[in-house]
Symmetry: C2
Subunit: 359 residues, 2 copies
């Protein structure tokens, strides 16, 4: 049941990957715990500076001798529309006032992003991280070749069959198929955001028929039922985000974890309001307030910068109403536990389920 080409290639015991949740949840403790329990922990490094990345890699290495991964965001071109920035600032101002947030923010520029990206890659190579995955696009051929030459396994992210094909053509070793169920940011890069909202029941078999890469299923998978279902559909592994986010070792805030555990699936919505890029999380006042103006906000990463102060202040005061409470569509399956408990339960339940299904 458990071992296959993918686990062999990644050097892991179980085909369970902890999703790279950038922005706090993927502490070194979480990443190492997942790897120590036989899965693949992943540092969500999209927002980290090259020196922060180096520091966390070294921390993880102190905590585990097993393989682990790192995830980076592929920067893409965006328009710096001053009018949109002005509009967004006006819309955010009343919230900033309410939360007593200073609204002076530095707007990032594309050039910096690309430079940082290359430095991030360089750290990954120097530190010999076993696995490097990418979100928001396919990096240049040069980068992919550079990583592969250094024996680093490269994993892409796709939300449509076409995006999966582009990852295969670029030479990725594996591809994460992110279903519409997934929490956090949509990885859609080739299609528009709405076109990239394909449920895993549809996405996995259609992609499996078109590509030869090992498939990692991501979105709404929290337990043995999802793990076996993903295998039936054609995946060789699962990537779980929300299930690990609520674990003790995760760095997500307590209020984020508690909100997910109390939430029902119909409270988890799509929004562009936090970052300018479509993402899935538990509905709150910020999302509701911004909803009718979502289409006039600046793109990622500008909007992300503009809302940073609000998100931080909301988190500091343990107020769930203005935080990005990223979560997939299965919050009812979320349980407060340790990584060890979660993985052990999944393995145990799989054996029980196999017997019950009389396969």
């Amino acid at each position: 049941m458990w071992q296959n080409d993918l686990t062999n290639q990644l050097g892991i015991q179980y085909p369970i990957i902890q999703a790279p949740m950038a922005g706090g949840p993927t502490t070194s403790k979480l990443v190492a715990a997942v790897s120590n329990e036989g899965g693949l922990g992943t540092i969500g490094a999209g927002y980290l500076s090259p020196s922060q990345i180096r520091q966390q890699i070294q921390e993880v290495k102190q905590l585990t001798e097993k393989n682990f991964g790192i995830n980076l965001f592929v920067p893409s071109n965006y328009q710096q529309d001053e009018q949109k920035i002005m509009t967004a600032k006006e819309l955010l101002q009343p919230i900033e006032q309410e939360l007593k947030v200073d609204s002076t923010v530095k707007i990032p520029t594309y050039e910096q992003d690309l430079e940082t990206f290359h430095e991030q890659i360089q750290v990954v190579v120097e530190e010999q991280v076993p696995v490097c995955s990418f979100t928001f696009g396919v990096p240049s051929q040069e980068i992919i070749d550079h990583l592969k030459k250094n024996s680093i396994i490269v994993i892409g992210t796709a939300t449509t069959v076409q995006e999966a094909i582009l990852n295969e053509q670029a030479g990725m070793d594996m591809v994460v198929l992110q279903g519409s169920e997934a929490g956090g940011h949509r990885g859609t890069f080739e299609n528009n955001a709405e076109q990239g909202l394909i449920g895993l029941m549809s996405l996995i078999p259609q992609a499996a028929d078109q590509i030869n890469l090992p498939i990692i299923a991501a979105g709404g998978i929290m337990d043995a039922r999802g793990a076996i279902a993903a295998k039936c559909l054609g995946a060789q592994a699962v990537q779980m985000g929300t299930a690990f986010l609520v674990c003790e070792e995760s760095g997500a805030s307590q209020v984020h974890k508690e909100t997910i555990i109390k939430a029902s699936e119909d409270q988890v919505v799509l929004t562009k309001a936090f970052s300018g890029k479509m993402a899935r999380g538990v509905n709150n006042r910020f999302i509701e307030t911004m909803k009718i103006n979502e289409h006039i906000l600046p793109p990622y990463p500008i909007q992300n910068e503009l809302t940073k102060g609000i998100r931080k202040a909301s988190s500091t005061s343990r107020n769930p109403e203005f935080m990005s409470l990223w979560a997939g569509q299965s919050p009812r399956l979320a349980k407060a536990s340790t990584v060890q408990e979660l993985i052990n339960q999944l393995i145990k339940d799989t054996e029980v389920l196999k017997k019950r299904l009389s396969f």
Copy 2:
């Protein structure tokens, strides 16, 4: 693998239900073929008059001695907003001119709908149809009791866990969980349309934990992979629409079938433009043209009446651009075949897949 409480109760060989695709596809030939091959054929009777329903039931009975089902739409209250109707007529006028359609249409009223619904139920009882399923809501307790007293199995439709619970509380025998992947109209009735877009990977296990009813999974399932995956997640049967829509026996137009077979998953979109109710189908000029005004259109069934002429003219002239090309998110899995070929292949592939997965 195949027999369970649900198949026993429905008196069928395989846990495969043909989705009730109202408006043409579910010919008596299709319904009977599915039942004759061991599944459950279903008449999509939502748009049929009581006398049309009686006629088709009698036709199906001529073609099969096996059990079959019928599906009805639960009428709901709606606002007849003259301003919205005027706006919709103005928006549709250029298309009507292009297609040379007469735009005089009768706007339905709620009272008529409810009366027709009761007459439809009466025919189902008189004709002793073995199974009656419902979409767009839960019918009154009186209706459910009446059907059950007459030994008719009643099946509800849910798109969220809460809707599944409401179906169980109302005394339904089984419930169809319609995932966000599903083609055609969204069955959402308690939540708003966006909240009811839950992928099956999330919807099935979360509902299975909360209800005791047998679950029928619907949405994107086209072959053995989806059928086994649905069982892993907690369903006892699958309901397939698009897979049967493209079959030889289906009454869908040739251009509809061909469009689906050529389509990719990212071309299948959600729209309210055809009927005023959210539905999924292959993108075309009509959907694109109406997109920015979708939110100001009148509700179902008014908008549905207003676009009838356009849809009919488009279909008559074999022009896919103004037809409702309903389809789920797995069009790449659609194959032109007979019902017998489709079901035989699914059964055969299931055995192969079980072995390959070494369950």
